[in-house]
Symmetry: C2
Subunit: 319 residues, 2 copies
Amino acid sequence: MKIGVDIGGTGIQAGGVNAEGKIVVRNSVPANAQAGYKAMSLSIGELINKTAAEINEKFPEDPAESVGIGVPGVISPDGATVVKAVNIFWENVPLKKDIEALTGLATALGNDATVAGVAENRFGATKGADSAAMYTVGTGVGGSLILFGHIVKGAHGSATEFGHMYAGDDTYTCNCGKNGCLETFSSATGLIKEAQRRIAAGEQTTILEAAGANPENINAKMVIDAAKAGDAVGTACFNRMTDKLAQNMAGVTDVVDPAVIAVGGGVSAAGDFLFDALNQKYRSYLTFPDAVTTKIVPAQFGNDAGIIGSAYIWDYLTD
Amino acid sequence: MKIGVDIGGTGIQAGGVNAEGKIVVRNSVPANAQAGYKAMSLSIGELINKTAAEINEKFPEDPAESVGIGVPGVISPDGATVVKAVNIFWENVPLKKDIEALTGLATALGNDATVAGVAENRFGATKGADSAAMYTVGTGVGGSLILFGHIVKGAHGSATEFGHMYAGDDTYTCNCGKNGCLETFSSATGLIKEAQRRIAAGEQTTILEAAGANPENINAKMVIDAAKAGDAVGTACFNRMTDKLAQNMAGVTDVVDPAVIAVGGGVSAAGDFLFDALNQKYRSYLTFPDAVTTKIVPAQFGNDAGIIGSAYIWDYLTD
């Protein structure tokens, strides 16, 4: 059985994932990023050993065979090193080697957005597609791309950063230092900032009531709920987000023309209201609308995508 | 020996390409697109048979073995049909089957921009790179992408249309019907239109003299030469073109992170003046400038790219 590990900013989850994509053993520890990489890697190793022991005891016919780890950061092209993971303060750490030494299990690393795409392609919303893109729309916009049945990592591990593609000139600068990144338009953060900007400019909206009259309390759900109810500011913010996201998806289609595009992350909870708008706008931005039949669909795995996708990253490696 | 065929708007070239990428036998016929597909395909079949006979006579140890055809249009995902080639009036024509029947040689089809990328990857500017992008910058902007050693055609044959990705709001609408396509900024056409627009707005420039005082006579070389000489309008047009092209290349890097990017087409004749500007601007637009070492380099094959790349498309197919 494959073990998947999902490293988050606050907690680290591990699971034994069976051949049907079900998590049949599950454990977790706090992330404790302040303790530093050495302590964290030891803690991850123990978590994996504990999970492996439980798998071997409960499923002797399907013992622990491999480990995949989803990391919130950039992985080196050879898949051995976490080049940078800012939220947990890692830089150039040899995680693959260290975990293999601690567990005796073959270990593969993947970016967290990438492994979410793997989970969907192996068992979920893009299952069976030889080419698939996935967008994770939350605080930022993460990306994943599978082509020819392989994860696209890029020559320098820098591929599938859809959130940092140019989408137009924007009213604020992205965390990455550039202006005009997709995620400043089409993330939860971008949605909230646009609502706050309009409120500061004096526009009237029900969003302010929902936030208890304090713009600092606005969240993405409040903005989308206002759009659903026909509020003008909510609608303008929602249209801005979906316009730029759909246009970017058409741009990614101009590059690789994936068979299907999944969207996960917190914003995807908006349901049909979101997906109907995205699909309609996507078609209007396509270069070849007569040829391209690609649909934008909701991701099926929420918080479990990290464990499931990490476990099955092995099926998508080129070597 | 492999035979490559390059179908252009005015002429059709065929060549026998040896294992070193040299064209050792060469023939051509006029395109005669008005005669219709049936007559054209017969003419292409005869051209190939003539070329094959010459190969077999001159190189009996390396006889004609296969045919690749570069087409200025969209190829179906299965590689059998030309879905649309507007310049030669083809729509849904079974070129692969017809040429195989006429010649008895296994035949593969490729988009003309795609096969240019194959020529560079097999023998030229991106040789040896497992992942490579190519831009053909002329009247429009064509694209080619090789990943995992395969041509990226897309699930619907609609991939690598870099010229139609969103680059910003523009002063005129693209031939495709959208506004803001890269090629309205960064093709020879876009360069010329911007110079004409500035002249119509009353801006003073040496470009007008070079064009014999008639803006209709302006070509891309006149604009770039003016930029090289420091003319303000030439410089503004050149900067607009290279800014948007470099930003798009950074965007394609955000999607697939290729190891190298080649640029061919008429505009690439501008040499170091162009490539120095592109490389400098590209680095400024990269999301991970510390990780990405990709260089933008001139394509090595001019008019022969079509023949060479078509012949070797076989090495890049997935099936």
